[in-house]
Subunit: 87 residues, 5 copies
């Protein structure tokens, strides 16, 4: 998983029907305490809000947090309370 900050959201009306009802959040990865320029979109599974630091699972793992039938390749799977050491 990567650690990322939720920085925004995306609205898509014309979308694959299997994606109806999911919330698309824009996330920005964090490495070594710095935000890095690799924005992408992850489906929220834990009620994360904008500004929060989160854990994002990528690839097929993302569907185990959302739906195994939906075309989802990134999901927010945890809100980070604290960390020890760099990331």
């Amino acid at each position: 998983m990567i650690m990322a900050k939720v920085t925004g959201s995306v609205v898509s009306t014309s979308k694959n029907e299997k994606l109806v009802g999911y919330k698309f959040m824009i996330v920005q990865p964090i490495e070594n305490n710095k935000l890095i320029d690799k924005y992408f979109v992850a489906v929220d599974s834990v009620g994360a809000g904008i500004g929060e630091k989160v854990l994002v699972a990528m690839g097929s793992a993302a569907r185990l947090a959302t739906s195994e039938n939906a075309p989802i390749d990134a999901a927010i799977v945890g809100i980070v309370d604290e960390k020890q050491g760099n990331l």
Copy 2:
């Protein structure tokens, strides 16, 4: 998923038979409101046109938007109406 702009299309007559009938679009990822130089080809599943901003699912997720039997590793799964925050 990543956000990308549809910038063109590709025609392939000699192709794997499981790919017959799909539309191959050229997409260019968008990060932090800028188009970045990482073009690739995604199969359209939502009727996206050239110039539109879209969400693209990568890897095995792409087949859940198209066909589970076709050798597809990227699919356009939504047209972006609006977004809040950077991407």
Copy 3:
């Protein structure tokens, strides 16, 4: 999928038995009409020749174009006839 140019081939006599009979092509990705320095090896599924522009599927998708039981992570799935727009 990515667009790539077939630039060579590889011969491997000592190989996993599930790979016997497949043709290993060296491909070089194309982005924005330029060949980029990220060569890799893809199994051919469409009879592509050296010098041709092709579509390559990566990851588990590659096995749907070749064999679901073989350790293949990249496959040539189409020969590109023409394209509109950059790639």
Copy 4:
């Protein structure tokens, strides 16, 4: 697998229920005997401690070391005792 050093840990109280009970470690990849700036989070499956050099499996492989049902995309699968040659 990649070789990495365990550099810290992450606590997440609000997380996907399938992730309850797992330990999230921050790992930093090692290449050519140098730590590189690509931190990410891996679930521990071998009792690795901070400061140890470990092998990390990525993608669907990570779930075979932890749980096939949990949204995990990276897992520590071994502690490195010694190595010969660069990495």
Copy 5:
């Protein structure tokens, strides 16, 4: 698959039990006839020795060359005898 050179090996005594019996080789990718600085660890399935040029399958493909139940994400699947063209 990528082409790589076997440059060393790794010993791990404390490892996931599904990995017992496998040989972990350090490999260094080759692109355009040059070794590049992206070392990683692959499980050998063909008896490759240090110094040999090999084909490495990544992701779920790696398990089809070794074991479908083991947390393996990279496997050596062939020894390269010769190649024509760059890689």
